[in-house]
Symmetry: C2
């Protein structure tokens, strides 16, 4: 959260100082690795810099899409009196998403991790308006966002409306990535929203109750009690651990006759769970899960989900069907369609702009040398390029190009614009393998969803410059690896701290409690979360089916 | 709750002492005033009374339908080792329903008022089994109940199953009574279940958010912000008061631009709200509501609810349409179809039995004198008759017959069995006007839903006698008027205490807090409810749309 606040602080601060940033469209494009840069200018560079809003007859319209980590951090640090601010989001609250796995089993209540967005924006100086609606189309040409109000039988008409903007902040969050696996949307639970966590909770209890009905064969009982988690990342692992604790500590006692039939299975396509963590943590987690009877299936790829079973193939292409009672799909995040179409619309233009700047001899192709010269700019515009290079220990763009094409490339080979686009697209497709840890999912959330247009090429206005440089510096600072947590159940947490420090066990769990309590967005939610933990210590988790 | 426990204690105690009550079917028929009496005997009066279960090879099967007040109180006081107990209910928890109005606005959380039924039955000696399913048919001839498991895509087949019983306790609760008004089921919220309260809460926030959308005319905003409560009984009044507090204390601050457009309307068919309370309370409540701007429409009967508006007629038959954003329908309770059909199946037999006993001269008709002679028995079998007579200040059955037929009847007129049934049916239809107060809705819940067969006619076994006499005494004790509360909002409550004591104001509110805290079913829920109240005092109510 600190990172998140920090970077959006950057944007906010810049906006504070520059009440007339010359028609820069600030974009926080939310996607699963597809970062995008964009700006719009109507070439009024000559506009005088007016620092007091009194002389400005009308405030600029700033529209913020989304009330997740990005949108909320941005809003909290913005001077509301300088802009005419309109927030649009399908949820009228901010949710502390890192605690969602705790909500699935009632360790923390859903309501304790949400804060009404109106309470947050009420503290701003000026009036900040909020609309509970979903943006389904961004029209950058006419500077409009098309929105649809949440369904409601009492609303007249379709509930569609249009909001004009001068500046737009897109912070809509990502959606769960199903890799287009058939049946996932229909039969699996995701763990992205508060409602998802509530549904999972009800579904767990439903499965237990179903297994308790009379006249069921043991096979049917086992099927109902087979909980499957697809994806061995931090969210999946944390949920598996929470579920295991819930079933052994709380539920087992009151469902004595089915206790021994419950089975939790984690399906992971890679060779290890928690693969983005240090090997020691991975090994500890795998051993702990094995001891506790949590079945970890490594190297299995899910190919289909039906209403009865999950179909998966292992690396030897053997097909296995696993009947299930409940599946949670947690394999990472993907780009929302609205963002994707927006990116497609404007992304190409941007890459062309970089290409033209880099192509100093106007040859229509770039030498590797020419690319190296603009690599700094590329990394600023597409921060994922830098992250990618770093994560793969690559020396520079040559490695990147080799990686993209899969064969050795000579340094003097020239690139056409299509090849250049292909290399960047490759980075985009790979960037999802970067750490997306549970504890720092706020960091993650920002990192994978962050894209900014840097108008350093065309626009040299002082304001624009200050703004964008600050934002980019924030972004780079943001991704410093400041530590990750992976709660493993049984009051044990694995923590990966800077400087190759690894801490696993009960002490890390207490560190986790402290960090999560301190990172709450308000004193109210902090008090509620802490009192939920206390309630859990005293009374255990509730297992009512509501 | 004391009353509830008391009466079910009675049943439980009797069952404890008599481990072989001769095939008496104990029926706690749940209905909106339709009390029913029934028993089944297979004439094995000679069976020896066995007090120790060791000599009995197989325990009798006791099936309890429902986990509301009646079912839970019964279970809590039953010796689980004496019977083979199976509980069937669509909800795997007990809910403290008197706090439902508080849940609608987040004064108390839904989860704080529920206790898993498995936790309650775990404390019993023997094994008590529970199935989450709904009973849809009772077959008294074959002593079976037909059940349907809660819908679930992963359950094979239809989810139907059959449970055998020796003794059956029906405590399924009533359903909301719509008086067959068109559109009520489709467009109105009820306030009977925990889920209802949660839906109402979301709907209130939805209405506020809808009214905040851009491009709405003031008329449309007002429509979305028109909250209607149909029914001026204690539940409706308490909900109206809670809603008013929520909107003024918590929501108004963060929705400043629509604060003044909100309107709460209570529609009551009678001449006063809270008509079952003392006149001083009614007057105080009506004046308080008027001061606070809550619109109370007296003498209006709702004839239709469409998706846009409520249609109602006043006493002069003038038709009014009231556009609304949300309606809560709270006009009392009715009989569930499964109970109704069961009652129809066996009720007729029972009335015939009474008739035959009363008809000493076998004339086929009853003189009023003959009825007077068995009035005591009638009142035992149909407790609502006694309540009804008492509530109307009637001297005896003559008044009742007059009331039923609407004209004077001579004392020497004789009644055919059809006329006798008609008179009893009239009582059934009228009994819903008896007090059904919010505070003592546990009492209410029991009172209107309580029916027991009293096998004093046919079966004189010691066991049966002990059991039924105890139960009936409990029932009569239960209805002693031991006080009612009507929370009116703004930390004020009206209390009607025994001996014509009326207390209205803040002190009664504190009495209310104490009583409700003390009446919680477990220490866990008690702690949760109290901490919810404290949270509310400190942080206010949450207004997130979840």
């Amino acid at each position: 959260m600190r990172f998140a606040s920090f970077i959006f602080d950057g944007v906010s601060q810049a906006l504070k100082r520059n009440s007339m940033v010359p028609k820069v469209v600030v974009l926080v494009a939310v996607s699963g690795g597809g970062l995008i840069a964009y700006s719009e200018s109507q070439s009024d560079h000559g506009a005088s810099i007016v620092r007091s809003s009194e002389t400005e007859p009308k405030k600029k319209k700033l529209v913020v899409l989304g009330t997740g980590w990005a949108g909320t951090s941005f809003l909290k640090n913005l001077d509301g009196s300088l802009y005419d601010i309109q927030v649009v989001s399908p949820r009228n609250y901010f949710a502390f998403t890192p605690l969602l796995p705790s909500v699935t089993c009632g360790t923390v209540e859903a309501r304790s991790i949400v804060e009404p967005i109106r309470k947050i924006i009420k503290k701003k100086n000026g009036e900040v308006r909020f609309c509970e609606a979903e943006c389904f189309k961004i029209d950058p040409v006419n500077k409009k966002v098309h929105c649809q109000a949440n369904a409601g039988s009492n609303l007249n008409g379709t509930g569609e409306f249009v909001v004009d903007y001068d500046y737009l902040v897109i912070a809509m969050g990502a959606k769960a990535n199903t890799f287009n696996t058939p049946g996932v949307v229909e039969h699996c639970h995701f763990l992205k929203e508060v409602e998802d966590a509530q549904r999972i909770r009800r579904s767990v209890i439903d499965s237990l109750e179903k297994a308790n009905l009379p006249n069921l064969s043991e096979e049917e009982k086992r099927k109902n009690l087979q909980f499957v988690i697809v994806g061995g990342g931090p969210t999946g692992v944390e949920f598996a651990a929470e579920l295991h604790d819930f079933l052994t500590e709380d539920v087992g006692k009151i469902y004595p006759n089915i206790r021994d039939l419950v089975r939790i299975t984690v399906v992971e396509a890679g060779g290890h769970i928690l693969s983005m963590f240090d090997k020691r943590i991975t090994a500890f987690a795998e051993q702990k899960f094995q001891r506790e009877g949590i079945d970890v299936k490594l190297g299995y790829k899910v190919t289909k989900v039906s209403d009865k079973a999950i179909t998966m193939v292992d690396r030897a292409n053997t097909v296995t069907d696993l009947p299930y009672g409940m599946v949670v799909w947690s394999t990472g995040i993907g780009t929302r369609p609205v963002i994707r179409s927006f990116m497609e619309e404007i992304g190409q233009e941007d890459i062309s702009a970089i290409f033209n700047v880099a192509d100093k001899d106007n040859s229509g192709t770039l030498t590797v040398k020419e690319i190296q010269d603009v690599l700094g700019d590329i990394c600023e515009r597409y921060p994922q390029v830098q992250l990618y290079l770093k994560s793969r220990d690559m020396r520079g763009l040559v490695d990147l190009l080799n990686d993209a094409e899969g064969n050795e490339r000579k340094e003097n080979r020239e690139l056409s614009i299509e090849e250049f686009k292909k290399a960047l697209a490759h980075v985009d497709s790979q960037v999802k393998f970067l750490p997306a840890t549970a504890q720092v999912s706020f960091c993650t959330c920002i990192h994978v969803c962050f894209g900014l247009h840097v108008p350093t090429y065309e626009y040299t206005d002082e304001e624009a410059d200050t703004l964008t440089v600050m934002v980019l510096q924030c972004f780079r600072n943001m991704y410093k690896h400041l530590g990750s947590f992976a709660p493993l159940g049984g009051e044990q947490t694995a923590a990966e701290l800077p400087g190759d420090w690894i801490s696993i066990g009960h002490s890390s769990q207490w560190l986790w409690y402290s960090v999560y309590a301190s990172k709450q967005v308000s004193w109210r939610t902090r008090a509620l979360v802490i009192s939920d933990w206390m309630r859990r210590f005293i009374f255990g988790r509730d297992s009512s089916g509501i």
